[in-house]
Structures are given as C-alpha cells and as structure tokens.
C-alpha cells in the first residue's frame, strides 16, 4: 500500500503522483470516474497498475489516497 495523489495536470488530464518516488505519471485508464462511484483500477502510462478502494462519491481533486500496486511498471 502506498500513498498516492490523484490530480489533474495542466492539460486537464488525470494523473497520479507518487510522493515516495517523486513521480508524476499520466493515467491511461481510471476504472470508476463517476458521481456515484470513484476508484478501482488505475492504469499508468508506464504500465504500472494501482488499485484504489472505490468511494461512494467523486471527491474533490487533488486528493491523497491509499492505493495498492497490482502491477509494477
């Protein structure tokens, strides 16, 4: 489990920031980005996949959440 920050970058695209590694990477797929459900699998451009426990509503971004790494880059 790692702390990650989900945010919009300057181009308005979702990206994930990993403070521990000082790494900001574009998100290519975000499983649930809906008003009623937010989270799930997060695919990064580097190939890594993280999992965020789905929340019942879409939070205000940026937000720091706990995420599980399903697949390394």
């Amino acid at each position: 489990m790692a702390n990650v920050m989900i945010q919009y970058n300057e181009q308005g695209e979702l990206c994930l920031y990993l403070p521990k590694k000082d790494l900001e990477e574009a998100i290519t797929h975000f499983e649930f980005d809906e008003e009623q459900r937010w989270g799930g699998e997060v695919h990064l451009i580097s190939g890594a996949i993280y999992y965020i426990d789905p929340m019942p509503s879409r939070p205000k971004l940026p937000i720091t959440v706990r995420a599980k790494r399903l697949q390394a880059a």
Partner: protein, 488 residues
Amino acid sequence: MEMTKEQTQALIDEVLEVYPEAARKDRAKHLAVNDQANAGSKCITSNRKSQPGVMTIRGCAYAGSKGVVWGPVKDMIHISHGPIGCGQYSRAGRRNYYTGLTGVNAFGTMNITTDFQERDIVFGGDKKLAAAIDELEQLFPLTKGLSVQSECPVGLIGDDIEAVARQKGEELGKTIVPVRCEGFRGVSQSLGHHIANDTIRDHVLQPNEGKEFETTDYDVAIIGDYNIGGDAWSSRIILEDMGLRVVAQWSGDGTLAEMENTPKVKLNLVHCYRSMNYIVRYMEEKNGIPWVEYNLFGPTKIEESMRKIAGFFDDKIKAQTEAVIKRYREQWDQVIAKYRPRLEGKSVMLYVGGLRPRHIIGAYEDLGMEICGAGYEFAHNDDYVKTTPEVKDATLLFDDASAYELEEFVKKLKPDLVGSGVKEKYVFQKMGFPFRQMHSWDYSGPYHGVDGFAIFARDMDLTMNNPCWKNMKAPWTKTEAADLAKTA
C-alpha cells in the same frame, strides 16, 4: 551540426563502449535520443543511484535543503549542524541576493555551524545544539526563526534534534525547524528539496493555519525562485506590471512571514518545479490554491507565461497584461536585433540541475541558437516527459552523466557553448570550449524576466565571441593544414 537519430545513437554506443558490461547496461538506460513521437512516456531512466566508480556531479540532500530551499530564507538562521566543512564550502555559493543588513536582520551569506568535534560524535551533539541556539539568540536577537540542517554525522549517531528544536522553540517563542536532510539520504539533492518542503509544511504552514492576513483578489506567490543574481526581482517586476500583488517569494529574498502568508494567495506560480512542487501540491489539496508552472527565460516563454498566468484572473489583468507585453516587445526586440546576428546558428549543450535545461531552451532559440544536447543531474521522469517536446528530434539526452561521458559528448558534438556547473567549467574551458556556468549565472545575472534577457544575451555573446578561443593552441603546435583550412 545536424544529427540523425541513428547518428546520435551511434554516439551513445561509442561512448558506452569503454564500460564493463554491467555498468554499460545500467548507463545505457540513462542516455537517450530524443523522439517527439514518444512524448509522454518513459524514454530515459532517472533519479537512480549513481554508478559506483564514475564521477557524478550530483550534490547531497543537505545541499538540497540548506543550499537550495531553506538557505535563502533571509530572516532565519540556518544552522549547519555537524562538522564545519559542509557549510563552509557551500557558503554563499549560490548567490541568492537579498536586501537587509547581514548579521543584523538578514543572515543569508553567513555560515553558522555547530562545528562537530570527535567529542560530539562520541557523546552526542544535542547539548551543543542547544548551547548554539542560546548563543545565537544572544548574538542575533532579530532572527525570526532558526532551522537545524542536519549533516551526515547527526543521523549516524542518532541525535534527537526534534526534541531540542521543540524545547528551545517553546523557550524562545520562535519557530525552530529541525530538518533531517543528512547527506546520505536519497540519491541526489532532490530528496533534500522534498524533505525541506515537508518541514516547511509541518513547521511553518500547519502551525499558522488560521493566521490573519489582509488579502486582495490579485495575490500571487513566486514559488521556486531563488533570486540568483536577482532573478526573483526581475520576475517580480513583470508580475507587478501585470497588476498582480506578489505576497511571497519562495525562497530567494524571502522571509518566514511571507511563507506563513502564502496559503492565502489566489495562485501559486511555480518556477522551479523540481524543488518546490511538493509544497504547492500540499497547498492545492489543503487550501484549494491552484498552481501553475511558468517560465521567464526569453521573450517567447515570457509572453506565453504572462498570458497563461493572466488567464487565471479577470479581464482587467488580461488587458493590462497585453498592454505590458506590447511595451516589453519594444525592449526585447532591440536586444534580439543586437545579439541575434552574432549568435545565430550556434549550438549549445546543457547539463544542469533539474529544471533549467528545459526552461532556458526558449531563450537560446530566441537568439537563433540550437540545443544539441541536454541533460539533468537529478531530474525525475516527469521532467524528462516535459523536456521531450521542447527539444528537437535526435537531440542527445543524458541523465546524471559522468565526467567521462560529458567530455566525450562534447568532443563529438562540438557545441559552440557548454552550459553546466563550476566543476565542469575549467575542464571545458581548457579543452577550448566556450563555457557558461548555468547554476549561479557565472557571477552575472539576473537571467529571468525582460531585464534578465538583455543580460543573458550579452553574456552569451561575450562568452562565445570572445577572441581568446582563437588562441587556444600554442603557435608552435599549429599545423599548416589547420592554417590552410582557416583561410580556405
């Protein structure tokens, strides 16, 4: 010299040839040929431990915290906690200008250290730190706060600087910030920036959450401008001309109070992304303050950045910005008219910290120059992602290059100008390459902003068109062929 992608790759392969296999495999990941089609993805490995046995030019976490982030905060004393060398050999080297009376209400260029001796290593240095803080309070009562910048031994012997800082802070009623930036942490000064940002968050922003401060709708903060040679001042002129109010400078010519007031601004303006993105991310999440990267090197980028910043404000600011741009144009067009003919077509190779290689490209291009190679000491993947679109295809990119690699690249690419740090300066000058020290502007500056651009252009001209480069060869070693080639 135009290079194709294949040629650049061949150059990389040739330079890697001399390494033993394991080292070659590792270094190969840090060298790349720019490919714009690949933008946005991983093209180069960065932020890894340097290869043992080769010369790296990186610094340590202490350098990142004391030297870069905390050091320029002028109304605080930053204690270099540990042996004397770390502070003394880096004292005032970054040329962070500030106003104030040094030793009275400003302390930027002073070296204050606890000067560890064997005794302190054996018995611990906490008592000495407490004594030092008392002594400083007596000598310099006008300090607004102190920071304790740990050097390697402090972490190794396990001193409890947090306890001393807390106790003394309560006693004196001043902000005392313990910073765990021992040099052995992380792979470069980059982690030092991060640690320093975290301590600002914990010891400056959080305790002052509710602080009253009269705000306006046009408040901004300059983040990540260290006022090298006066950079932040020439940036500030532009922002104020646009109609904005700069309430804080992080951290060049900055103060503790300015930092405390920052969570009340409307927009955080980030110049050095690498060293201060951490704190603006925090303020965005916690205080809802948006942040934006800007770049004040050279007319093209200045114009672009001014419009980008104005876009966050109302029509009044936007209109004023356009008017100011018109006025600036007259100023910088003259600079370009004077220097571009003298610099047109020349090539530059840059190897600097974590931001400038990509930021300063525009300024060179405004003068008609071209980047043939760019590299960072301690950049991370996101920095390279942002660099890819800025440089041409087939440009050589290198991460944490060793002294050997750098020399070979320069010999092969033969740039008209090399821009890097003081450790590289004399090597390349002796090799006969015009060189500018691009960390502290080679005792010149400012280079930011409109006024800075004029100085930048003049300096580049002075360096490259200096007659000394024609006299690098002793007359008796000159061959006839070389003479012929010159006249041909």
